[in-house]
């Protein structure tokens, strides 16, 4: 049996008890991550209890802006459902809320050659083809100091 990769959808997330709130909230149009109500530490990937002070964490809205820590340009098909999108750019973005708080996502609305480390980005939420899940993608924005 031959498989037509291009016709298969992208990988779908399999939420767990700790992450369900992330997928629920992003499905309702809001990016929320787990945060410790006691010491204010953000956690991603999510943890039920704070890794620093062991307090139960809660989902809170996070700012949608951040800075590109590093990125790749995928030139060959490597992941099911993405064959038709190559070349595409994926970045690790450090969110403004906390040093080291990182989200991974595609960079859109800009040529791959123009993406650079340190670039300011804002996230928006898109439907993930193949199901009902939504994911964040990032697009370039003005430098932080130039933001009105």
């Amino acid at each position: 049996m031959s498989i037509d990769w291009a016709k298969l959808p992208p990988p779908q997330p399999a939420p767990d008890l700790d992450s369900q709130g992330f997928w629920d909230s992003i499905g309702h149009g809001e990016l929320r991550l787990r945060r410790c109500p006691s010491c204010a530490l953000w956690h991603h990937p999510p943890l039920e209890h704070c890794r620093r002070c062991a307090t139960p964490t809660e989902f809170e809205p996070v700012t949608s802006t951040g800075t590109v820590y590093t990125f790749i340009v995928q030139r060959q098909p490597a992941v099911v459902g993405y064959s038709a999108l190559v070349p595409y750019t994926v970045a690790i973005v450090e969110l403004d809320d906390q040093p080291g708080l990182r989200l991974t996502g595609r960079i859109v609305d800009i040529d791959a050659d123009e993406v650079h480390i340190g670039m300011r980005v804002d996230s928006r939420i898109e439907l993930l083809p193949g199901g009902d899940f939504h994911i964040p993608v990032f697009s370039p924005t003005l430098p932080r100091e130039a933001t009105p």
């Binding site: 990769w5 779908q12 997330p13 399999a14 991603h44 340009v73 099911v80 459902g81 994926v90 989200l103």
Partner: protein, 381 residues
């Protein structure tokens, strides 16, 4: 107590092929038999067996049965990739030193058909990858291309620097009849290689093969009576950071080796300058770059110049991957690096023998997790 109460006394391997057409069990059993024969031992002498895999069917139980054993004592099947090769070998040595086993076989088999399976239907991904896979970001070349880009940004390293590592490995593989990729390449060839995931071209990635490698360990005492000069693991260290999650590692210009190198050098009383042969885990060229710096062979950002100046080959400071590494000998998940280190320290590497090789560093792993072993021709005093 150090690990040199145990010794490596036998090495074995199958041919490395793009498609072997054989099962993992068959490949593993062949490599294990060859290694035992090399040691002058028989399957009946084996009472311990261990491997690492991500759920392959060729378990120590099955492989020990396949080489004719009706029973086996100490077995450990470690769920791991190349990041835990050093740990698996160190555990085998510890089992011998603590009297849990007398003769232990360590093996790794790769059989492309089963390693990652095949996609036949929609894919659901849980765990930490539930936050990355839906973005078309799932496989190791993508993770480590991220790291390489960061190093380029911080230290000004270049694709030409990564190319110098690939070219060095390939030049060594030319003399290695066991290597899968033996056509020499120069910088033009490297730069003409197709992009896979920027900043990685095709020559930056390990060359995947089917095959198996096996090592036989026994006590240093018993080793004296066996066929070959014993090779001793004289120190090992392991380290993991950021929960083993590549995207969370704080500074991607360094790897696990930032944790492991000081531990290893402290435990052995050695430094990079003492090492004759360095079998650096090279799933990607960048893995060599970051770990080579962390182990102290050169300063951050100097790897390209170091390799271009001939310091990583015969006649230089240290011979890096004389077999061609995962990049050119073949991707045996790093156990082939240990095979090569033993061969070199025995003086049995033929045309690619490193003169007066007495100490070999073998690293295992990339990114947030890994380990390393130093092997020597003599036990430490």
């Amino acid at each position: 107590m150090d690990l040199s109460g145990a010794a490596i006394v036998g090495i074995g391997r199958t041919a490395y092929r793009r498609q072997s057409g054989r099962t993992g069990i068959s490949l593993a059993a062949e490599a294990v038999r060859v290694a035992l024969d090399d040691a002058g031992l028989a399957p009946a002498d084996v009472d311990g067996m261990t491997c690492f895999s991500t759920g392959d069917p060729a378990t120590p139980h099955r492989v020990s049965h396949a080489i004719g054993l009706d029973e086996i004592g100490w077995t450990v099947n470690t769920y791991a990739g190349g990041n835990q090769v050093a740990l698996v070998i160190a555990n085998a040595a510890a089992a011998i030193i603590t009297g849990q086993a007398d003769v232990v076989v360590v093996y790794r088999v790769l059989d492309a058909g089963v390693r990652y399976g095949k996609v036949t239907d929609a894919v659901e991904v849980g765990g930490v990858e539930q936050f990355s896979a839906p973005h078309g970001y799932l496989v190791p070349p993508q993770w480590f291309a991220m790291w390489a880009r960061r190093h380029q940004h911080v230290y000004g390293s270049t694709c030409e620097d990564l190319g110098a590592i690939a070219i060095n490995s390939r030049a060594h593989a030319v003399a290695n009849e066991h290597a899968i990729a033996r056509d020499p390449i120069d910088l033009d060839d490297y730069l003409a290689g197709r992009w896979i995931v920027e900043p990685f071209r095709v020559y930056d990635l390990a060359y995947e093969v089917d095959g198996a490698v096996a090592l036989v360990l026994t006590s240093a005492e018993r080793a004296k009576d066996l066929a070959h000069r014993a090779v001793y693991p004289i120190g090992a260290a392991e380290g993991t950071g950021a929960g083993g999650m590549p995207d969370l590692w704080p500074d991607q210009t360094s790897m696990y080796s930032r944790i492991v190198a000081p531990r290893l050098w402290e435990r052995t009383g050695l430094s990079a300058a003492d090492i004759d042969v360095a079998c650096m885990y090279d799933c990607f060229t960048y893995t060599v770059m970051a770990t080579f710096e962390d182990f102290g062979f050169c300063e951050k950002g100097e790897v390209g110049d170091y390799f271009r100046a001939g310091r990583a080959t015969y006649g230089g400071d240290v011979v890096v991957n004389p077999h061609g590494g995962l990049l050119s000998e073949g991707y045996l998940h790093g156990l082939n690096h240990h095979y090569e280190a033993v061969l070199q320290l025995r003086g049995g590497a033929g045309v690619r023998q490193v003169d007066d090789a007495e100490l070999a560093l073998v690293t295992a792993g990339a990114g947030p997790y890994g380990g390393a072993i130093v092997y020597g021709t003599e036990r430490p005093c």
